[in-house]
């Protein structure tokens, strides 16, 4: 009789333990999904701001065609990127292109005083902050999820919970990645 009670208690404890691990894994998966969609929201904001920004710079520096093309192409590539890793790479390229655009804008004091340009720049900076925050949340969640997928005992619950490891959302640091472009002739 005592043995039955002990066995029942052990099964109960194991069951509770299993449920808590399962719930944790599933919650991490849902949080990662939420993080990904939040990143998409911020990326869309970023993409929507860029055409107006390019137009406002063109109004003052219309001959800097290669810079504008670079930004527009990078933006198109970023919009079409699928999956977190591809998005990260494409957005890194876009950041680099935008960096060059703003470097170009430095040479035009009238542009830098233009209200429209300043407002767009402010909104873009705000969007960048939110993008970085969404990225931090996503990467923190993915780190926890990936760790749970490989550690014991949660790795045994993973197939039942139907979650899997995910990629991190990496944005290359544009200041490090940018190499000064020197071109002789145009």
């Amino acid at each position: 009789m005592i043995a039955l009670i002990v066995i029942a208690a052990v099964i109960l404890v194991l069951g509770l333990w299993f449920f808590s691990i399962y719930n944790r894994l599933v919650s991490l998966g849902v949080s990662a999904d939420e993080g990904e969609s939040e990143i998409d929201v911020q990326l869309k904001r970023r993409h929507d701001l860029i055409p107006n920004l390019v137009e406002s710079v063109k109004g003052y520096a219309s001959h800097e065609r290669s810079t504008f093309e670079h930004v527009t192409n990078a933006r198109a590539a970023a919009v079409n990127a699928n999956g977190v890793a591809a998005q990260g790479a494409a957005e890194g390229e876009l950041s680099q292109a935008l960096g060059r655009l703003f470097a170009v804008a430095e040479a035009y004091p009238d542009l830098k005083a233009n209200q429209n340009f300043l407002q767009l720049q402010g909104e873009l900076t705000a969007t960048e902050d939110r993008l970085q925050a969404a990225r931090r949340f996503y990467n923190t969640t993915v780190k926890a999820l990936n760790t749970a997928c490989v550690t014991i005992p949660s790795k045994f619950v993973v197939p039942i919970a139907n979650v899997s490891q995910r990629e991190f959302f990496e944005l290359d640091n544009p200041a490090e990645a940018a190499v000064p472009q020197v071109s002789f002739g145009s």
């Binding site: 970085q132 944005l171 200041a175």
Partner: protein, 293 residues
């Protein structure tokens, strides 16, 4: 849950000593305090600080941005945002869970800190809410208060030489003295434990903030500036003291004792610097600044 077990144990002890009506009163008072603090505590804290709510980004973009960015980084809904006119630099967060959170920043803080520092402070505050520190400290406070209350009742009983008729014979003077000393020390011990918990949670909030921002230097720099500030607080209460970024009442935060709600600033800064040294990469990037600089 642990709270309720301990409270039930205390209640049982009370019932043994005083009989059932006292237990009922005890229970009602405890539940009442917990319910009031957890449901209305954030509104009370905001009212005490004479804070004004910020309803949209246009009203105060700096604070709004800092809070929204931190809410995104924490994966939490945006809390209610308040600014208090208090010129002393400080900030607090209230709210029993992340869905009902309140963040309040003093004008003095806004005038003192730059963007990264403000984000660090807001991250610290939201970490308090995320770690359910408000709930924890409410329970701890009620528990400590309950112990103090019981100790006072018991001391009265001994003073009047009363007690139940089941008192053992020959309690003796020494026994009485020991009882009195224990009863006097019990609330003291409870408060020491409460303060110790508060200090531990402050360190935890600093660490959580560093994780949220991936930039511990921001909060460290803010704490340095706050340590150097001598502006006294206009509004502050013991009830919300443990939720603030630095202790608002008494002591510049340079030294702390066992009775402080916050650990010493130097130690908080030192721990943040350690975290910063261990970082592989930070997340401070801005391509809107000229590349040439």
């Amino acid at each position: 849950m642990l709270f309720f077990f301990v409270y039930a144990a205390l209640g049982f002890a009370v019932s043994v000593r005083f009989g059932d009506p006292a237990v009922v009163l005890f229970g009602i008072v405890a539940v009442g305090i917990v319910v009031i603090t957890l449901t209305m505590g954030d509104d009370i804290a905001v009212a005490v600080a004479r804070a004004k709510q910020i309803n949209s980004r246009e009203e105060n973009p700096r604070v709004w941005d800092a809070v929204e960015v931190m809410a995104l980084a924490a994966g939490q809904p945006m809390p209610r945002v308040y600014v208090s006119p208090d010129p002393a630099p400080n900030a607090f967060a209230a709210g029993k869970d992340p869905k009902q959170a309140v963040v309040c920043v003093n004008q003095g803080l806004l005038d003192l800190l730059d963007k990264e520092e403000l984000e660090g402070v807001v991250a610290h505050e939201m970490a308090h809410v995320k770690n359910y520190d408000v709930k924890l400290m409410t329970y701890a406070a009620v528990l400590a208060g309950g112990i103090a209350l019981i100790a006072e009742w018991l001391s009265w009983m001994i003073f009047w030489g009363g007690g139940s008729s089941d008192d053992e014979d020959g309690l003796g003077v020494i026994g009485v003295v020991i009882s009195i000393v224990t009863i006097l020390l019990a609330p003291l011990a409870a408060m020491l434990i409460q303060m110790s918990i508060s200090r531990r949670r402050e360190f935890l909030a600093d660490a959580s903030a560093a994780e949220l921002t991936k930039y511990p230097q921001g909060l460290a720099s803010a704490l340095r500036k706050l340590g150097g500030s001598e502006v006294p607080a206009q509004t502050g209460s013991t009830a919300t003291a443990h939720l603030c970024i630095v202790a608002p009442l008494g002591g510049g935060g340079k030294s702390s004792s066992l009775f402080s709600t916050h650990p010493p600033l130097e130690e908080r800064i030192a721990r943040l610097d350690e975290l910063a040294a261990g970082q592989i990469h930070t997340s401070r990037t801005s391509f809107t600044q000229p590349l040439s600089s």
